[in-house]
Structures are given as structure tokens and as C-alpha cells.
Amino acid sequence: MKKVMMGNHALSYGAMLSRSQVIAAYPITPQTQVVELLSEMCADGTLDARFIKVESEHSAMAACIGASVAGARAFTATSSQGLALMHEMLHWAAGGRHPIVMGNINRSMAPGWSIWTDQNDSLSERDTGWMQYYCASNQEVLDTVIQAFKVSERLMIPGMVILDAFALSHTYEVVDVPDQAAVDKYLPPFKPAIRLTPSDPRAFGGLTGAEHYMELRYKLQKDMEKAPALIEETGREFEKIFGRNLGLVDAYRCDDADFVFVTSGTAGFTARVVVDEFRKSGLKAGNLRIKVFRPFPFAKVREVLKKVKKAAVVDRNCSYGAHGIFYQEVKSALYGEAGMPPVFGYIAGLGGRDITTDSFKEVAAHALAKDKADEEIVWIGVKK
């Protein structure tokens, strides 16, 4: 069934079709419509779930953890400051191996107060052990929630489905809403091997000495390493049922490209327009949109970029004192491999400033004019 819906509602539909059993959430702009629709769905019986209207995001994640360890499928959604408040519990969810799925609307961190998009909120959580999926369309948001539950529950690692504030969260698009029966076939009920129950009384997450802690984290990393293949496998399975593939990256016209933008989120779709224009004027351009940031698809990125002559990474974030975060990851993916192209790094669109086709043209003009990438950050559209 096709519906016109905003990105936030695509998250709600994803959570509903995944038959989330416990939802705990706290309102924050620009996430509110996600939980408003879910509370309506719970109230009218469309969704058989307990909606816990907690008093903070920190409690939202704590409640999701409690629900998940008790064996229920748990969902929440937040943004920016809310995600930052959850930070401690993000480590808890991943370290405790609780396969919660969360929507995060990328919103810039205060101060000054900003409700507009950039990625520093979610990227600040990159080392917590959560999988991160950066989406570029409302369809992708809905589909990814369902896939994320499947991948998370298989690996017992939580997953974050991420979309740009306003550019996606409040933008209406046509979304093909899958049939519940088909989703049920794709996503079986959550049945963890061990759960919190008096019939199997165990203590979870107790004091863990140096003789055990490292092995537990080793297991987390080992399972994280299984995720790229599992995401591709479940993506193909999704395509068989629903006709849409969900992969690690979206490589657009990259196969024969000389020059490739590396992007994430909605900026990735803007880049496509510029790629098409460049192609018309004879420049073999492409766009590699990285969808899954954690685990980072090192092999996939290498595979795509090894064939190109130049790559330009456009980051909507900044690791202050270092560089754009995707830029760093892409470079580390290519380092030490023979025949890799120079990679240029750009920062654009912080605090909700638009990343337009002109932004990408500026990026391309800079990168194409240079032979070698130096370490200097190139800021796009900043009034210096």
C-alpha cells in the first residue's frame, strides 16, 4: 500500500510493522511525530505494545534495556541532546547485548540551540557498539527499521536508524508500506537464548573482572564483524520479498567513474543530481553514499573506490581537532592498499545549512583542480 508520509512517520510505521512490544520515549524536536503516531497506534490497538512515557531519554533507553532483557522487542526514537543524554545507556545496551532498535533524527548539538540537521549527535556515539544506518529516503527509513531488528536480534547488537532533521524527518514522500504478513515472514518474533526470568534466574551484567571483561568485548567486536555480510544477506532477502535491496552502501554510477563523491544521508541524493549533470557534460562522476557507518563497510568502500581516480568526502559533521568523520574512516579504509585514489575532505551543512547542488559543484571544482589531497579541511559555504 502506497502512502504519502513524513520521514518521522516512516520510523513509526517501521516500528509498528516490526511488532515492537515495548516503546519508551521522551519528546524532542524534531523526533516528536515518531512517538506521537506510535502512541496513537498503541492507543487504538493498531500496535500491541506498551508505550512507556518516560521522564527523560536516559530513562527511555534504560526502560528499553529492561524490556529487551525480559525478552520483548523494544524501540525508541530520539535526537541530538536526547541521544547525548542517553550516552551512558547506549554503552549499556550494546555491552549488555540488547538488540534494541532506535530512530535518531540527526540534529546539531547545542549550544547555540539548533534544531536543524548535522551528524555530530550520532557520530559522537560511534564507539558505543551500536550499528548505525544513515538513511536518505523515507522508504529507506521504514525498510531499514525492519531490517535493523532482524540483524540486531541475530547478532544481539542494538541498531540506530538515522535520518536528517527536517530534510527527511519532516519531508513527505511516497512510501510503499509493506503488508504485515510479509513483514512477519521476514522478521520472526524475538526469541533470545537467555532472558531475565525467574524460571532461569541469572544475574546480568555483574561485576566483571579483568579475567573476563576483555573476552566479552572481543565477542562484541567479532559479532560486529559478522554484521556487514549479514546486512547484505538480509538486504537480499528483503529484496526478494519487497523488491528493494538494503545494502551497506549505495554506489551510484560508480562503476566506470573517474570522480566520486562520498556522502551520507540526504546529501547523498543531492549528490546524485550533480553526478547526472556532470555525466551529461562528459565528466565520469559517481556517488558513493555510505549507508552503514557502524560496522564500517571497509571492504565495500575499497572495492568501489579502487577503480576511481579521485574521491571527495563530504562530511556533515566535524571531529574538532581532527577532520570530517567519514573522511577519516574512508582514508583509513584505503590506507596501505596499492592503487587507491587521493581522497579530499570537505565539511558542509553544519547546523542545518543546506548542502545544495552548488555545494557539490564547489567540492568538485576544488578536488578536480588539485593533484594531491592535503590534510587541510575544506569548508564549503562558510563565511571566512
Binding site: 512507556i52 518516560v54 534504560a62 534495556i65 532483557v69 549499556w92 531475565l196 551484567g205
Partner: protein, 298 residues
Amino acid sequence: MKKEKKMTLTLPAEELMACGHLACQGCGATLAMRYMLKALGQKTALCIPACCWAVIDGPYPYSSLDVPIYHCAFETAASTATGVKAGLEMTGDSETTVVAWAGDGGTFDIGLQALSGAAERNEDIIYVCYDNEAYMNTGIQRSSATPYGAWTTTTPVKHFKTRPKKDIVAIMAAHRIPYIATASISHPEDFVKKMRKAKDIKGTRFFHVYAPCPTGWKSRPEDTVKLARMAVQNAYFPLCEIEDGDKVTLNLKLKDKKPVNDYIRIQGRFRHLTEAQVASIQAEVDARWERLLKNCAV
């Protein structure tokens, strides 16, 4: 030997807490856990934040309890328990009693927001605060449950705590939750009786349990039960219940209310107090006691 006489046990025989745990000698918090589990039985799930009990239970991969435990973050006892209850219910278990089991730091201080949220929503959980009146697990630092006059490592004798203990029971009563009780490890029968009563009530139930700590109070381990008993008998920690926020019942009437001096003087943490300072504690205890009696009468 008088073989004919029957052994009389005034508490349920079932032990859900095993020995081998890591509590200090004479730990009051351990008795509190033992009594609570006797009252609630095996179909109980615990959420324990950072507190002495996070250590007492034993390190991974062991546990001392025959009930499941989720070791949660410091400030999340109430919110994690809320989630556990919802999760159990959504997976077909509406029978298990879910308990948030936290110390005074995790309740009076860092966990107060989550507790207030859960209480306001009237989540179907029992929240137990075992109060040893300081951050004992981190090495005896003052909390907002530390009483006036007490030494701790962050309120050294020259700067002992001069503010009174936070009135957590009044705070919880203001939430108008269905059931609040104070309990003491010196009165296990009363403890078990009230815990059983709470088990059958739906909604948020709050227990404030007095649990002396020989390590932090600088008292003798063998005096733990005695100290708790003295605190009840001198009205330092009266035993009462509050239903629906305002119906107050006194569980133990004090015909012969003892002075606080004896109780104060056997604890090293109060050693520095002058007679005048002890008198001011007595005045404060008397005033609180009068207020409690007045509330009961209403």
C-alpha cells in the same frame, strides 16, 4: 537437651539468598535482601543499580540469589524495572514481581528523577531503598540520606554534615502512590508482613529500609541489629505505612520512647558530637515524631 521443644521460625524458611556473598561482616543490607526475598518468593526479578549489592551478589559469572538480577546503571533502577515489568508482561508473564533495589545514593540522589517518573506514572513495581546513609560502596561519602552530624569521608569531622537527611518518604508520599512503607532489619516479621501486603498491591510501592552499615558507621558488626532496633525504639526511624499518599499507619507505637543518645554514642561516625549537638538531634527526632503522630490521627 530439651528435645521436646519445637523450633519456632517466625519467618518463611525458604532461602533465596545463598551464602558466599561478598557483604562485609554484619551487613544490614544483606539482611534486608534476605527478608525481602522471603516475603516475595522466587517469582521475583530485581534491578540493582550501582550500590553495595552490585558487589555483594558476587562477580560475573556468579550470583548469590535464586532470582534473576539485572545490574543496571546507577540512576536507572526505577526506569529499568519499569522496562523489565513491561517486557515480562508483553511476553506473557504478568505474575513476576519486579523490584528496583537501590541504596540511598541511587534513590535519594542520582536515581531520584527516574524514581519520581516511575512513581508519577504509577508503574507496577516495588522500589526498595536500603538506606545505609552514605555512599558506602565507594568508600563512605556523604549522600543526601546522610543524617545531620555524621562523619563521612567527604564530611570530615571538622566539616561534618550540618544539613538534615532528605525526607524521601515525604517526597514519595507527595506522588500519591498506593503504598509506602518504612521497614527495619531489626523487625523482620513486620518487614515480611508489609512486603507481602505490597506484593498484592498494583502500582508503585516504595520501601524505605533502614540498613545499618558497620563499615561506614564505625560501629561493631555485632551491633547491626541492635542499632536498627534502637533507631526504631527512639523514633529515629519509625515504622509506618502510607497508603495513597495520606493514610498514615504507625506499625509500632512507642510507649517508652528511648533517647537518641545511646544510639548516637555507639557509632564512631557521631563520636565528635557535643552534648548540645546530640540534644539538637533529639529535638529534631521529637519534632518529626510529633508530626508523624499528628498525621496518623488525621
